[in-house]
């Protein structure tokens, strides 16, 4: 190979992947490490990378303590019920008590946040959401990270973490390649903050052909957060907790502003309310602790997102689809109509394109909704990710090992999708987690924890060979055939992705099987995955762009394998509407009121699974309305 090896040495903090989490880390690291060397490696361009590349029309996590709106524990309670109890409440509380300071800085940097003209407070979309003109959210935040970083390596895809050869289970940097030049990049670093993304496109998408890119989460979210950390032997948590989204059909345009601000609502094909009739049976599956419609109607307590999906899925299966969003009332108000369109243009332009193409004017027609294929990520209404230490003043012993947001690999920190058990962080919470991780990483270095790191030439050479192998495989196998993509010696990344999506869909509970799986299906799926893993050793890339896709696929594969293992382990249906274990259709608090934790042995590839205790914040946390209802026997 003619590619150069470019070594960046003596880095203190390497940010691997700079979406909202990574930019938060780079920004904050400069304050606590004013003389430290901070470097960003990002596979795209940090001005438009990560899930917020397109922009956002709302910041979904803002307490509003300055306006007397919410306390951190209110947010914890909300996230807890929405995730059916499965939340790392120490991490959630910690994120929530800091998140407002991130948002106030965004405003200082020029992000337009809308104000309620009557109260002067930020304009609320819902209890947690504030409305912004966020087309340039990412470039504005990236600017702050650029000011803080010593160097930004755009277009460098990080493929592996480097490990210390002197001390077991300690990180030593990362390696990857430049997707333009093809050069091999070695980053030797005392700490790494993994800010890489969650996973779209691991389950077969509803769209076919060209539209396969119109996924809910960005198509460039390749599960690299998990691929990198799993491969390094970091423990993961809640990887079974994939998310399914109820969204506008095909375009997957967001519904939050529609429900909360425009007060639109859903109905079945006959114009009937359908949700409540599924609740009695659903209550028998999950228990009144998790679904108490009366409590939800009279208090702030939400009906969990997954359970609302469950009602849609069942109503459609009963033959009364499609589900419509009733927009025709709200859109008669020209102001609300404009907000409805701006909402798409600010974060999902494709939905506006689709409605323009299909002449859907929501003023005169109620658009269709659908439930999406599942996604694996850790910052929306789900909490997949690494098992991380919490903050010293909040976390119990089982959740604390010295440094906030540090994974079980020493010196490896996480932010955003990378951190498990912290749903409902969204953009602002991910940025906040990056800040927390960066401060802790600086302290880790100053405490002398990164002394004596050694990276052998052999490790660097071994990774280089591994990274470019798909190009080699192509070169060797290509000339055996006349032309085309069918070759007995290799598969290309697209062919591999198609196979992965089909397996995940059919065996792990995708939309094609109505989100249903069981012990037998998962076991068959894992066997097929093992063989697929062998084929991935023979993946071929015809050029550097395909090499990027090959490595994204390998990260998606490691993510998917973990999802399979976790789903098999948790023998219950904890989140009906996200997925169902057909062999255990009930929620089972007696055995499964726990967090699932896995580790893949980097040497053997073997998985070990364990249950971790679940801690809840208790005390002065209930709202008064809920306390009254509880006194009357509700939950």
């Amino acid at each position: 190979m003619g590619y150069k090896t470019i070594i960046e040495d003596d880095i203190d903090i390497l940010v691997a992947g700079a979406g909202l989490g990574g930019t938060g880390a780079a920004f904050e690291a400069r304050y606590w490490g004013q003389n430290k060397k901070i470097v960003i490696a990002e596979k795209a361009n940090i001005d438009r990378s990560g899930a917020v590349a397109q922009g956002l029309y709302a910041i979904n996590c803002y307490m509003g303590t300055r306006f007397g709106e919410n306390n951190p524990e209110d947010h914890v309670r909300y996230a807890r019920i929405d995730l059916m109890g499965m939340v790392r409440e120490d991490l959630a509380f910690d994120m929530a008590r800091h998140v407002d300071s991130a948002v106030h800085q965004f405003e200082e940097w020029g992000l337009p946040i809308m104000r309620n003209t009557k109260t002067g407070a930020y304009l609320r979309e819902g209890r947690w959401q504030i409305m912004i003109h966020g087309e340039s959210y990412k470039p504005i935040v990236a600017e702050a990270a650029k000011k803080s970083a010593d160097k930004v390596f755009n277009r460098v895809c990080v493929t592996h973490l480097l490990m210390d050869d002197a001390k077991e289970n300690r990180v030593a940097g990362a390696v990857g390649f430049n997707v333009r030049t093809g050069n091999y990049h070695v980053f030797k670093s005392k700490t790494v903050v993994c800010g890489a993304g969650g996973a779209s496109n691991i389950f077969k998408p509803r769209s076919v052909g060209e539209g396969a890119g119109r996924v809910w989460y960005a198509p460039w979210s390749s599960g690299s957060a998990y691929g990198l950390m799993i491969e390094a032997g970091a423990k993961m948590t809640q990887m079974e907790n994939r998310i399914v989204l109820a969204r506008f059909k095909d375009g997957y345009g967001p519904v939050g502003a529609y429900f909360l601000h425009l007060k639109t609502y859903t109905q079945n094909c006959n114009g009937e309310e359908y949700e409540s009739k599924w609740f009695p049976a659903l209550q028998k599956m999950v228990g009144i602790e998790y679904l108490d419609p009366e409590a939800s109607h009279t208090t702030h307590r939400p009906i969990p997102t997954c359970l609302r999906n469950h009602a849609i899925i069942n109503e459609v299966n009963a033959g009364r689809g499609p589900i419509h969003m009733v927009t025709m009332e709200a859109f008669q108000d020209p102001h609300l109509e404009e907000i409805g369109w701006h909402n798409f243009l600010g974060m999902t332009v494709g939905q506006a394109v689709l409605w323009a193409a299909t002449d859907v004017d929501p003023k005169y027609e109620n658009p269709e909704l659908t439930t999406s294929e599942p996604y694996v990520m850790g910052s929306h209404a789900t909490g997949c990710g690494a098992w991380c230490s919490g903050p010293e003043d909040v976390s119990p012993d089982e959740y604390f090992w010295g440094y906030n947001r540090m994974t079980t690999v020493e010196g490896l920190f996480g932010a955003g999708d990378a951190v498990g058990g912290t749903p409902h962080a969204f953009s602002s919470g991910s940025f906040t987690e990056g800040r927390l991780a960066a401060k802790a990483a600086c302290k880790y270095i100053d405490d002398g924890k990164a002394e004596g790191i050694m990276v052998s030439e052999a490790q660097i050479a071994r990774r280089k060979e591994e990274i470019y192998k798909p190009l080699e495989t192509y070169t060797v196998g290509r000339n055996e055939i006349v032309a085309g993509s069918v070759n007995p010696n290799y598969i290309n990344p697209r062919q591999g992705l198609d196979r992965l999506q089909k397996m995940m869909d059919e065996y792990c509970g995708g939309f094609g099987v109505n989100y249903m799986t069981n012990d037998k299906l998962l076991s068959i799926g894992l066997k097929k995955m093992a063989i697929f893993g062998e084929d991935l050793e023979k993946i071929a890339a015809s050029d550097i762009h395909e090499l990027l896709r090959a490595w994204e696929l390998k990260h998606r594969y490691l993510t998917s394998e973990s999802v399979f293992q976790h789903t098999l382990f948790r023998k219950e249906t904890r989140w009906p509407g996200y997925y169902y274990r057909g062999d255990a259709m009930k929620l089972d608090d007696e055995n499964w009121h726990v967090l699932t934790v896995s580790r893949r042995d980097p040497k053997t590839g073997e998985y070990t699974m364990e249950k971790a205790p679940l801690y809840h914040l208790v005390g002065d946390i209930e709202d008064e309305d809920l306390a009254k209802l509880k006194a009357q026997g509700h939950h």
Binding site: E28, R30, Y31, W32, A44, N45, R48, S49, A53, R66, N71, E73, G85, D90, F93, H98, S101, H104, W109, G110, P112, H133, S136, I140, K147, S148, S207, V208, E210, G211, G213, R214, A218, D250, E289, E338, W341, L345, G346, V349, G350, V353, L354, A356, A357, P391, D393, V394, P396, R435, C442, K443, D446, H545, Y615, H616, L617, V618, G619, D620
Partner: protein
């Protein structure tokens, strides 16, 4: 398709190549102009459309569900701090102009360099405070919230 590039407008400057989050805008080696090499990995995020100095890039909705004959065009202006959209329906019955701010300040002027702000006081390293905290949390002098300050405990088990 997501995005496509008009032959007569593109001069091959590469702004779209530089910004595309999905690495799918590439320069055709023969024609020396940009094109979308992998439409099924395009999110229609419009990053390239906004970045193109010649308005050479447009979007045609995904072929598997979007009929032809629509248009969603955009003009993002950092100097004015605005983004202007025009949406045209296939049937011609709707034609909307929508304008939104993208920043409240001259581009980049609100940012600061944390290497040159006063260094954190030594004891704050061992606290839970981040830069500008506790002030920036509630924009007052209140301390950062803790379990103790909020009357909370963290306990193992099932509590609802």
């Amino acid at each position: 398709m997501p995005t496509f590039v008009y032959m007569t407008r593109c001069d091959g400057c590469g702004q779209c190549v530089d910004i595309c989050p999905s690495d799918i805008m590439h320069i055709d080696k023969t024609l020396r102009r940009a094109y979308n090499i992998e439409p099924n990995m395009c999110w229609e995020c419009y990053s390239c459309v906004k970045a193109c100095p010649h308005n050479a890039i447009d979007v045609r909705g995904y072929a598997d569900f979007a009929p032809l004959g629509h248009s969603v065009r955009v003009n993002r202006d950092e100097e004015k701090g605005t983004i202007a959209w025009r949406i045209k329906f296939r049937n011609g019955k709707k034609d909307m102009d929508l304008l939104a701010p993208i920043t409240t300040k001259p581009w980049g002027s609100g940012h600061y360099d944390l290497a040159s702000v006063p260094a954190p006081a030594k004891d704050t390293v061992n606290t839970e405070l981040l830069y500008n905290e506790p002030k920036y949390v509630a924009m007052n002098d209140n301390a950062l919230m803790t379990l103790e300050s909020n009357g909370l405990e963290i306990k193992e088990g099932v509590y609802y």
